[in-house]
């Protein structure tokens, strides 16, 4: 069953996500959490790309190798690739935001321990 | 509606008879009580003398308007109660003013005097009067309950609220009396009767030394005389109701005299035999002993 490259890539992606999540759930350091999320993001992106993969096909660029007429049978699904581009950029934006947060939080309390920011609760 | 003006002199006649009978009867009962204590007790005419003396007191004081109204309410209650109930069964003359209302009127009119007296005594500003009233009212709520139940049982039994019709239904021999047709109701009512007669064991209301005779502690002279007048009439009026409801009523004055005497005597008997209850004790007593009888009597019917 697990034979195609797509499966392996996807599995790798999922594992990355889980690793990222685990990191985010167990590290109390803000920066480590952010890194963990980056890992998870990467995992997501891999899964995204993996879904678009089709065995034995090529990139969706029409050039001499892939004439317009054959495109349907020669290229892989271009949509996930487009989506992953967007996803990456958005992930970048989010990461930047989180970093900014981390910076400000550190300025406030001189600590990066998430367990120290619990004044708001209940 | 045409009003028969002759009812007024007839009613006054009833009033006169009952008043005198009441004065003598209470003295007689007092004498019986004294005999139970191996005394001679007061003379049989003592009540008349006391009444004259109190009317003859030269000075009096007043605490205010309600102070006046207290005894007036009280006596109005007594007289009204007497007149709203037919005294002698089958006699147009002594059916009094019972056309105005039925048994319910009589039962509720009992409270007229109580309320008025309470108000008048309250106006005197005397704390003992108020204490006495609270005791009296507290006790009466429990004491009235078995009576109410018994009355209701009787009304159910005869399917009427008219006193005349209830008496009519009991005619034709002693075994037709409610006492025998519905003994539970009568038992309950007679226990209630004890509570309403201000005699031991239910006379903590008056507690002569603790709260010098309670509600009437400030009353004297003519006020007191008026209340004494009531004391002659009111118990008889109450007993008339009991008589009519439970003991076949009376068809003649002698029968009336005997029955009223016997019923009155019952409370006197109990009174000389038992010491005093505290208020909460008497409330509990009524609720525990008298009320279940009343309940049974209602279920029985």
């Amino acid at each position: 069953m697990m034979t195609s490259l797509a499966h392996w890539a996807m599995a790798a992606g999922f594992v990355l996500i889980l690793i990222g999540f685990y990191g985010a759930l167990t590290n109390r350091n803000l920066l480590r959490m952010i890194v963990a999320f980056c890992i998870a993001d990467t995992g997501v992106n891999i899964v995204l790309v993996a879904v678009g993969h089709m065995r034995g096909r090529t990139a969706p660029i029409l050039d001499s190798a892939v004439p317009v007429a054959d495109a349907v049978s020669r290229i892989i699904d271009p949509v996930p690739q487009a989506l992953v581009l967007t996803a990456i950029v958005i992930g970048l934006g989010v990461t930047a935001m989180m970093l900014a947060y981390a910076l400000k939080l550190y300025e406030k309390k001189r600590t990066l321990d998430i367990a120290k920011f619990t004044e708001l609760k209940w | 509606m045409t009003f028969d003006w002759m009812k007024i002199p007839y009613a006054l006649l009833t009033l006169f008879i009952v008043f005198n009978f009441g004065l003598l009867l209470t003295a007689f009962i007092a004498k019986i009580g004294a005999r139970a204590g191996r005394r001679h007790g007061i003379p049989i005419w003592q009540n008349y003398i006391d009444l004259i003396k109190n009317y003859g007191q030269r000075s009096s004081i007043t605490h205010g308007v309600m102070f006046y109204l207290g005894p007036v309410f009280r006596l109005t209650g007594g007289v009204g109660l007497l007149l709203f109930v037919p005294t002698i069964y089958g006699s147009e003359m002594f059916s009094n003013l019972s056309f105005a209302g039925d048994l319910i009127l009589a039962l509720y009119f009992v409270f007229f005097g109580t309320l008025g007296m309470a108000l008048g005594a309250g106006e005197s500003g005397h704390p003992h009067a108020a204490i006495g009233i609270t005791r009296g009212l507290a006790q009466v709520t429990a004491a009235e309950l078995p009576l109410a139940l018994a009355v209701f049982a009787v009304a159910l039994q005869y399917q009427t609220l008219s006193v005349t019709e209830i008496v009519a239904a009991q005619q034709g021999g002693m075994m037709n009396w409610t006492m025998f047709t519905n003994p539970l109701a009568v038992a309950a009512a007679m226990l209630a009767f004890l509570g309403s007669m201000m005699r031991p064991p239910f006379d903590v209301v008056l507690a002569p030394q603790e709260i010098p005779i309670g509600p009437p502690t400030e009353y004297h002279s003519a006020y007191l005389a008026l209340m004494q007048t009531n004391r002659a009439i009111f118990p008889i009026a109450k007993i008339v109701i009991y008589m009519n409801l439970f003991f076949g009523g009376a068809t003649s004055w002698p029968e009336f005299a005997v029955k009223v005497f016997l019923i009155y005597l019952f409370s006197a008997f109990v009174g000389v035999c038992f010491p005093r209850f505290r208020v909460e004790q008497s409330i509990r007593w009524f609720l525990i002993w008298a009320v279940p009888l009343g309940v049974l009597s209602i279920l029985w019917v």
């Binding site: - | 007061i42 003379p43 003398i49 006391d50 007191l224």
Partner: protein, 213 residues
């Protein structure tokens, strides 16, 4: 004067302050009035007869004589037969029996009780002490002569008089009443100032209105 009888300034619920003078505001200041027998002679006679046959004694014992009063209610003496009864409240009583020596402190109470009884009212002094102080003639805190303070209608002598003597005394009182000679209440009203002077002479902590209605 006791503190509670002093003038005081109180604030009403509307915030306005005003003065309360207890003796004026809480007690009737009127002096006692003389109540002459106003009815026709025959009516007055009837009333006097009734008064004599219906003597209500205030249940108030002052000295050792109080003990002698109680047997009157018992089967042995049974004063009720003679129309004599006890009342717990002075409003309803006609007769004040000063039963024995009267201390100054008790005098104040006796005066109050007496003044709260309604006219006509009678005072009977019981025992020697009410007459001249008896064995306490030189005591610092008993009064010696009751008649100086209250209008006594009758003394029953003895130390102590037996219940039988009391019964006899009451019979005498009845005679006085029937004869219309027991007018102590009016006498008290007529000589009110004299009685008050006498009373105030011995009662130094006078803390009541002159007449206790």
């Amino acid at each position: 004067m006791k503190e509670e009888l002093l003038k005081r300034v109180v604030k009403g619920p509307d915030g306005v302050e005003f003065e309360v003078e207890p003796l004026r505001d809480y007690y009737c200041e009127a002096p006692p009035a003389v109540h002459p027998p106003v009815y026709a002679k025959i009516v007055e006679d009837l009333f006097n007869w009734a008064r004599s046959q219906s003597i209500w004694i205030l249940g108030f014992g002052t000295g050792c004589g109080a003990i002698e009063m109680r047997p009157l209610m018992t089967p042995r003496f049974d004063a009720y037969r003679y129309g004599i009864q006890w009342r717990p409240t002075p409003r309803q009583a006609n007769l004040l029996v000063i039963s024995g020596y009267l201390s100054v402190k008790t005098l104040k109470r006796a005066i109050r009780a007496y003044e709260q009884m309604q006219n006509p009212k009678y005072v009977v002094g019981l025992g020697s002490c009410t007459i001249n102080g008896g064995m306490y003639w030189d005591s610092y805190n008993t009064i010696k002569r009751l008649d100086d303070y209250l209008p006594v209608d009758l003394y029953i002598t003895g130390c102590m008089p037996r219940p039988e003597a009391l019964l006899a005394g009451f019979e005498d009182l009845k005679k006085l009443i029937r004869a219309g000679k027991a007018e102590g209440a009016n006498q008290y009203a007529e000589n009110f100032d004299w009685y008050k002077t006498n009373q105030k002479r011995v009662i130094h902590d006078w803390d009541m209105p002159d007449y206790n209605w």
